[in-house]
Amino acid sequence: MSISADKSTVHDNLTFTAASTQRFALGLPHVFAAAVFAAWFLYMNYMPLFHTDLWGHVSYGQWMLEHRQLPQEDPFLKHAEGVDIIASAWLSQVLLGAVEQAGGDEALSACFAMISLTIILCLWGIFYQYMPRPGVCTLALFVTVLIGSTRIAVFRTETFGELFMAMLLFLLTTIHRSYLDETEAERSLSRRTFWTATLGIPLLFLVWANAHGSFVVGLAVIGCHLIGRFLEVGWRTRSLWSIIGDRWFRRWVMWTELAVGASLINPYGMDLLINALTFPRNPNLKDITEWYAMSFGDFEAIYFALSIVILLVMMRFSRRRVHPFQLLVIGLLAYSVTSSVRMIWWYAVVFAYAIAPHLQDIVDRVWPAGGFWKPNDGTNIKALLRKRSYLWTALSIMLLWYGFALSPIATPLLGGTPRKATQLYSKETPLALTEFLHEHPPKEAVWNPQWWGDWLAARGPKNINVFMTTNAVHVVPHRVWKDYMRIATAYQGWPATLDRYNVQTVIVSKVDQQPLADGIHKLSGEWKMIYEDDQALVVTREEELKKITPVTSSSVSRDAKALRRGAFN
């Protein structure tokens, strides 16, 4: 080996080392992003588990794990007997069931935090692919999350759908980076990106379709690209031949077919797709607030209006061409969110996806790369902000570590006191009531608020015969649902409706069912109040239960031994 050769090698190594060093050195914006991610994870891990359908999904999953089959009917609701179900979220339900079995409810909370973090990382990545400016991306992410903020707090199978949507949009952004930037003649896709999309899209939809019915939104987004491309080429060329000859059009056709085809690989085949498309027409959903159309007073409406303002500003100042697919996806999701407020998160992420290239154009022009932080005037603070350094890297890692270490997820590893039940579960979860029911289990039919039904079926006394669960609102016959609503709203004739279903015990949410709570006191003498706290009251006409000494607010403490962690597992 010659000396010169050695020198060259040394030089190469030094160059490599310097490049590697530079690569891992971060700036202050990265610290900002890391802080946001850490805080987000911390916040989501501390988010109490909601008291509604999560527990129904967990129960479904555990039922499937136990029976090694998909349920044909709702296993927990007597009034839904004989109604075939399509367990469109079977995969995520099984996952939830397995997670709960493996690590208890804290594991569910950790699962939620990790999925939520992955979602915002994907969304952040959408912006970052266009403009590698962590600070701006983080601000854009903040606005996106704000628009969809009313739907982020609840862990349910839909969360898996939101994850897959974020992943899909991230993937589509990878495709579009070249698509949007280059002239039409030069539009091309790297082989790697092409195969990533061609394999990734069907794989994503294969999992998504089995995990949640929201995969149809993903199909709609891909379909918008196909139609958008069709319109784009068709508008310019006025030739069907040119449309078919367009490589991108053909690619979208193929990806759409792959997405649809992959989503049909599920235990129900085509029925799953039909079910997902017709699901919103279920008449029972009209009474569920999250399926209400948007109204002016809603938070969703305010955030939606904010997004429209941002959109108009973007369109006004962006020099990028607006592509038909962008208008189509925003229009489609805007329509769906005005029809049903529960779509606001889906709208928010699609909104982010559609405006990201326009945001990049505006930001690049207003603050050219490096210009904003350029330390020309010699200000030390600006120089500090501009500089990439290991200090920022270390600070970023430390923030991420704190995000993990301070979260409940770290308790088993790092030690500490587990959360109390009152912290782990949402405050609307009827913990004290559940304890009471364990001590005095109703033997016969129970009427209950539907939002407690899943919890009571999962964590209440064994074989409790609840009237309604959130998870089965769309399953029960419409007559049962109407009768449930009649009782829930204390509508005329509701006591006779209780008779018709031979309900022997009634559980009322004092907070959300005040008319019924008032009406309960006017029931005939055959009923007896046996439980009351700040949250719930229970009346019964079961002879055995009528014998017990009533439990009232003064004798109920949410911090009593009943609320020990895991008391209901």
Binding site: G82, R187, W241, S242, I244, D246, V260, I274, V480, S524
Partner: protein, 414 residues
Amino acid sequence: MTTSYNRTLITPWPVVGWLLLHLTIATGGLLWAAVRWQDIKSVKALPKPQRDPLVIRPVHDVPEIVSDEELRYVLWKLRPRLRAPNPKVNHVDHALRFWGVPAQFDDPHCYSGVEMRELLLDHRKFSTAWTRPGTRPLFVESKKGVKPRLQQGDATTSHVDHTLGTLAEVGTPLDYPIITADGETRVRALLDQSLYEFSVNQLEYEWSILAYALYLPNTTHWVTQEGQKMSFDRMAERLLRQKLTQGVCFGNHRLFTLAMLVRVDERSRILSDEMRGKIIAHLKMVTATLMKTQHADGFWERDWDGSVPTESPGIRNPVSRKILATGHALEWWAMAPDEVLPPLEVRVRAARWIIDTVATMSDREIELNYTFLSHAGRALALWRGKFPYEVFPEGLCPAIVDAPASLTKETDQK
């Protein structure tokens, strides 16, 4: 700016091939979806009934309960003197069920069985009888057929599917015509509409289930429009669900329908063994309860299950309530299998109270209580193993029937 697009398929044949391939894929997908959609829809197809309903005949003939003379006299007293302007549909409905289609009466104030059925099913007859201004037709067209208007006044029916149940019980075939204000249809349209709207949790379901048992004895299950699989087991479960005295007519319609389900099941297996056993056990339990609560005079009241009534009685006249409770009990027992029947003396006491009460009632009182009495009168005939029209030669109820000596003597003693 001149725009060029990435074209690789510039020759026609590859383009045509590509187009054909993807059109084939799309068409295949759409066809699959269409086929599945049809299948999903067809799951909710209405079940196919048989043309002629099953006729379930009474099986007991117990002269100790009612003698031939007493029966003829009671039935004569309960003849349907409904031929007057604006006859209550509720009364016509009950009278038709009570007497049956072959019934005839040598009394100009009475409608024959045929006339009563025409009055219900032929709008031309209905509109002739119902001259009150503003009276709307009895039948209205609905999505899958026709249905009678319900609980909207005297010109409408009183119970859900009572008319349908009546038509089934009196043996009306499904191709029998119904003339509505809008045209002609068949009894099948009435059944189809009922099946289309049926929910096992609906307010009244007893007559619907009875009609289904008689028209659909060979149907094991179907799916309702609510998507719920329906079987006679599930419907029986519903009949067993409520507290005994809750519901229309103090809960007695449920018991009659349960007894009829068991009888239909003997002819055509519509129940599982388990459910049949549950029904028999339930009816035995009800019989035991009735034995405990029977009044010394033989009647029952609305508290026939032994509970303390917690709601207003609905029916103010205590005699009316007694007729209702007692007549219905005798009626469902008359159709029930032997194993659920109470001792003879219980039935005799109940029948005796009914006979004596009817014998002393004025025409006005009978008119006021006609619907309740129709069950009582029918029950007495059934206990002699006959439908009411079979009690009289050639189905003709004479203009006058003298009170038998037993009743005259008792009346004199009172």
